[in-house]
C-alpha cells in the first residue's frame, strides 16, 4: 500500500461518512457541515489522484482550491438561509410538511 | 549534532504536550484545565519550535518559526483569557 492509496481510501470513506451524516442530520446547520465533509472527501480523493504519478501535476491542486472556495461560498449562503429561516419560523430543523405553504 | 538537538528538544516538547493533555483530561474545572493547556502546551510548542529550528537552512526560517510561536502564544493567551472570563461570569450567575 502506498500513501496515495491510503489517502484515496480515506477520501472514499469520508464521502460515505458525509452522506450518512447528510441523511441522518435533522439540524440544518449540521447538514451544511456534512456537505463540507463530503466535498473535502472528494478533494482528498482528487489530491491522491494528483499524487499518484511521479511527475508533479498542478491541475488537481488548482481544481481543489477552486472547489474549496466554491464550497465556502455555498456554505456561507446556506448558513445565512438557515439563520434567516430559523428567525422566521423559530426552528432549525428541516421543514417537512409545508409543501404548499 | 543538529539532528541530536532536534531529537532532544522535540522529545522534551512532546513530553510537555503529553503533560498538558493529561492535565486537560484530569483536572476538575475550566480554570485548571486552561492552565494545563496554555502553560504546558505553549512550552511544549516552544521546545518543538526550537528543535525544528535546528533543521532550518537559513536564519530567516528560524526567525519565521519564532514568529509563529509568538503568534500562537498571543492567540492562546487571549483565548484562554476570554474563555476564563466567560466561565467566571457563568459561575457568578449560578
Amino acid at each position: 500500500m502506498t500513501s496515495p492509496t491510503l489517502y484515496a481510501l480515506t477520501g472514499a470513506a469520508l464521502i460515505g461518512i458525509g452522506f450518512y451524516g447528510l441523511i441522518e442530520a435533522q439540524h440544518l446547520l449540521r447538514r451544511v457541515i456534512t456537505f463540507n465533509l463530503i466535498g473535502s472527501g472528494l478533494f482528498v480523493f482528487l489530491g491522491a489522484v494528483g499524487a499518484r504519478n511521479d511527475g508533479f501535476d498542478p491541475i488537481p491542486q488548482a481544481l481543489i482550491i477552486t472547489g474549496i472556495v466554491v464550497a465556502l461560498s455555498a456554505s456561507a449562503l446556506a448558513v445565512g438561509l438557515v439563520v434567516a429561516h430559523s428567525r422566521a419560523s423559530g426552528r432549525a430543523t428541516f421543514p417537512e410538511e409545508d409543501e404548499d405553504a | 549534532m543538529a539532528d541530536f538537538a532536534t531529537y532532544l528538544f522535540t522529545g522534551v516538547g512532546l513530553f510537555f504536550f503529553v503533560a498538558g493533555s493529561v492535565g486537560f483530561l484530569r483536572f476538575p474545572d475550566v480554570f485548571s484545565r486552561l492552565h494545563a493547556l496554555t502553560k504546558a502546551d505553549n512550552l511544549g510548542l516552544g521546545f518543538i519550535t526550537l528543535g525544528t529550528a535546528f533543521q532550518a537552512e537559513a536564519w530567516r526560517d528560524a526567525a519565521l518559526l519564532a514568529l509563529i510561536w509568538g503568534l500562537v502564544l498571543l492567540a492562546a493567551g487571549t483565548v484562554s483569557q476570554l474563555i476564563s472570563r466567560d466561565a467566571l461570569r457563568e459561575r457568578d450567575e449560578k
Binding site: L46, I59, T66 | -
Partner: protein, 489 residues
C-alpha cells in the same frame, strides 16, 4: 469583441457594475447589459449560421492545459432563448419589482442576481470543460437560490433551503463523477474525452454525474423542491427559474451522454431515465390538477415538462433514415426545451402581472383577468397552447418530431406517453383558462399599461412562431450536432 466572448462578458460586467452602483444607475446598467447581451446572442447566432460551429480556446491554451468554449447549434438555441426570456423578465421586473413597490432590498438584489444567473447560463451552454461546467452550475445554483429567497417570506426561505440541499447534493455527485473522469483520463475537455481510451470506471463516473444532474434538473424523484421554489419566487424570478435553470443541467446531461460517453449508454439506463420521465409527467400533471394557486399549477407543469425531456433518451437517432430531417428526435427535444422555456416564462410573467394587480394568484381570483388585461390573458392562452402541444405552436412541432421518431423506430410506447401527457396538460390548463375568461364583476383595478402587457405576449408569440417558421432553427440545430444524436445511443 467577438460575439462568443461578448455573451459572457456583457452580463458579467453588468452584474459587477450593478453591485457597485446604486439606485437608478443599477437599473440602467442592468438594462443596458441585457440589451447588449441580447444583441450579442443574436450576432453569435448569425455568425454560427453563416460560418458553422465557433470555437474559442480561452487564454490561447489548447486542452488539456486550458478551457475551450464552443458555440454549436444546441448552445445557440439555448443562448438565444435565454436572451429572450431574460430581457422579458428584466422588463417585467422594471414595473413589478420597482423600488417603490418592492422596497430597496429587492430592487438592489434582483439585478445582480439576474445578471449572474445569465452569465452562468451562457457559461454552461458554451463550456466544453467538465470542471468549468461544475463552477458554472454552482454559480447558477447560488444565483437561483438567491432569487428564490428574494421573496423574503418564511415559505420562500424554506423553499430556498430545500432547493439548496438538492442543488448541493447534486453538485457533489457530479463532482464525484468528474473526479473519477480526471483520475482515469487526465483530461476534462469534452472533445479530448470523446477520444479517450475506455476505462472500467467510466460507467460509475457517468452514473454519479447523471444522478447529480438529475437532482439539479428536478427529474422525478428529485422534484420535490421545485414547485415551492418556483411557485414561491417573485414572478420575473420564477420565469427565469422555471424556463431556464433546469435546462442548464439538462444540457450538461446531453453533452455527457451524447458526446463524452455515448459508448457507455446501456439500454437499461436509457429506459430507466425515460421511465423516470414518465413518472415525472404523471406526477407533475396530477400535482398541477389538484393545485388551487396559479403559480403552483404552472410550477407543477414544469415538473411534468421536464419529464418529457427525458423521454427522448431512448429515442435518439430512432430510424433516422426515414426521417425528413436526420436526428429528428434530437431536434424535437431541443425544440421542446426552447418552446417550453419561452412559454413557461410567458405564463409566469402573465400570472405575475395579474397577481400584482389583484394581490392573489388563487384560481378563483382569476375571474375578470381577460376583461381587465386582454393582452396578458391572451399571452397565457397562447403559452398554454404550446405547453399542451397543439398546432401550430413550437410545442406541437417538438412533439410531432419526437413521436414520429418513436413510431418510426417501432417504440410506439413513448409516443403514446407523449400523447397522454398532452391530454393531461390540457386537463390541468383547462381550469385556469376557463377561470381567466369567466365573467366577473370586479371593481376597476389599476391595470399596468399595455406596454408591459406586450412583454408576456411577445414571449408566447415567439413560442408559437417557433412552430410556424421552423426551417431556420432546424438548420441551426444541425450545426455541430453530435454523431450519436443521429445514430442513436
Amino acid at each position: 469583441m467577438s460575439a462568443l466572448a461578448a455573451v459572457l462578458v456583457l452580463p458579467l460586467a453588468g452584474a459587477l457594475f450593478a453591485v457597485a452602483l446604486s439606485g437608478r444607475a443599477t437599473r440602467i446598467v442592468a438594462l443596458a447589459a441585457s440589451a447588449g447581451t441580447l444583441a450579442a446572442a443574436l450576432a453569435l447566432a448569425a455568425s454560427v449560421i453563416s460560418h458553422g460551429t465557433l470555437r474559442l480556446e480561452v487564454g490561447g491554451w489548447a486542452p488539456p492545459v486550458g478551457i475551450v468554449l464552443e458555440a454549436d447549434g444546441l448552445s445557440i438555441a439555448m443562448i438565444v432563448m435565454t436572451a429572450f426570456v431574460m430581457v422579458a423578465a428584466s422588463l417585467s421586473a422594471c414595473h413589478m419589482l420597482a423600488p417603490e413597490a418592492a422596497g430597496p432590498r429587492v430592487a438592489f438584489g434582483f439585478w445582480p442576481l439576474m445578471l449572474l444567473l445569465w452569465t452562468a447560463l451562457n457559461a454552461v451552454f458554451l463550456s466544453r470543460d467538465l470542471f468549468n461546467l461544475y463552477v458554472g452550475i454552482e454559480l447558477l445554483s447560488l444565483a437561483a437560490i438567491g432569487l428564490v429567497a428574494l421573496e423574503g417570506k418564511a415559505a420562500a426561505l424554506s423553499a430556498a433551503i430545500r432547493y439548496m440541499i438538492f442543488a448541493l447534493a447534486g453538485s457533489l455527485l457530479y463532482l464525484a463523477g468528474l473526479v473519477l473522469v480526471y483520475a482515469a483520463h487526465g483530461a476534462l475537455d469534452i472533445g479530448l474525452l470523446a477520444d479517450r481510451m475506455p476505462a472500467e470506471t467510466d460507467a460509475l463516473a457517468l452514473a454519479l454525474m447523471t444522478a447529480g444532474l438529475m437532482a439539479k434538473t428536478a427529474l422525478f424523484p428529485f422534484h420535490v423542491w421545485l414547485p415551492p421554489a418556483h411557485g414561491g419566487a417573485a414572478a420575473p424570478a420564477s420565469a427565469m427559474l422555471s424556463g431556464l435553470v433546469p435546462k442548464a443541467s439538462f444540457i450538461i446531461l446531453l453533452r455527457l451522454w451524447f458526446e463524452v460517453m455515448p459508448d457507455r449508454a446501456a439500454g437499461e439506463a436509457l429506459t430507466l431515465m425515460a421511465a423516470l420521465g414518465i413518472a415525472a409527467v404523471v406526477w407533475g400533471s396530477v400535482g398541477a390538477l389538484v393545485q388551487i394557486r396559479m403559480k403552483l399549477i404552472v410550477a407543477y407543469s414544469t415538473v411534468a415538462q421536464i419529464g418529457y425531456l427525458f423521454l427522448f433518451f431512448p429515442l435518439a437517432g430512432g430510424a433516422s433514415a426515414e426521417q425528413p430531417w436526420a436526428g429528428g428526435a434530437w431536434n424535437g427535444m431541443v425544440f421542446f426545451a426552447v418552446s417550453h422555456g419561452l412559454a413557461k416564462a410567458a405564463m409566469f410573467i402573465a400570472v405575475g402581472q395579474w397577481m400584482s394587480v389583484r394581490g392573489s394568484d388563487r384560481l378563483d381570483e382569476m375571474r375578470g383577468f381577460a376583461s381587465a388585461m386582454p393582452m396578458t390573458a391572451f399571452a397565457f392562452v397562447l403559452a398554454s397552447i404550446t405547453i399542451v402541444g397543439l398546432p401550430p405552436s413550437g410545442g406541437f412541432t417538438a412533439k410531432y418530431l419526437i413521436m414520429t421518431s418513436a413510431f418510426a423506430a417501432g417504440q410506439w410506447f413513448w409516443g403514446l406517453v407523449m400523447a397522454g401527457g398532452g391530454l393531461l396538460a390540457a386537463a390541468y390548463l383547462y381550469r385556469p383558462v376557463a377561470e381567466i375568461f369567466a365573467r366577473a364583476d370586479i371593481p376597476a383595478l389599476p391595470v399596468p399599461s399595455r406596454v408591459w402587457q406586450v412583454v408576456p405576449l411577445f414571449l408566447a408569440c415567439a413560442a408559437v412562431a417557433l412552430g410556424i417558421a421552423s426551417s431556420a432553427p432546424f438548420e441551426l440545430l444541425t450545426m455541430g450536432r453530435p454523431q450519436a444524436a443521429e445514430d442513436g445511443l
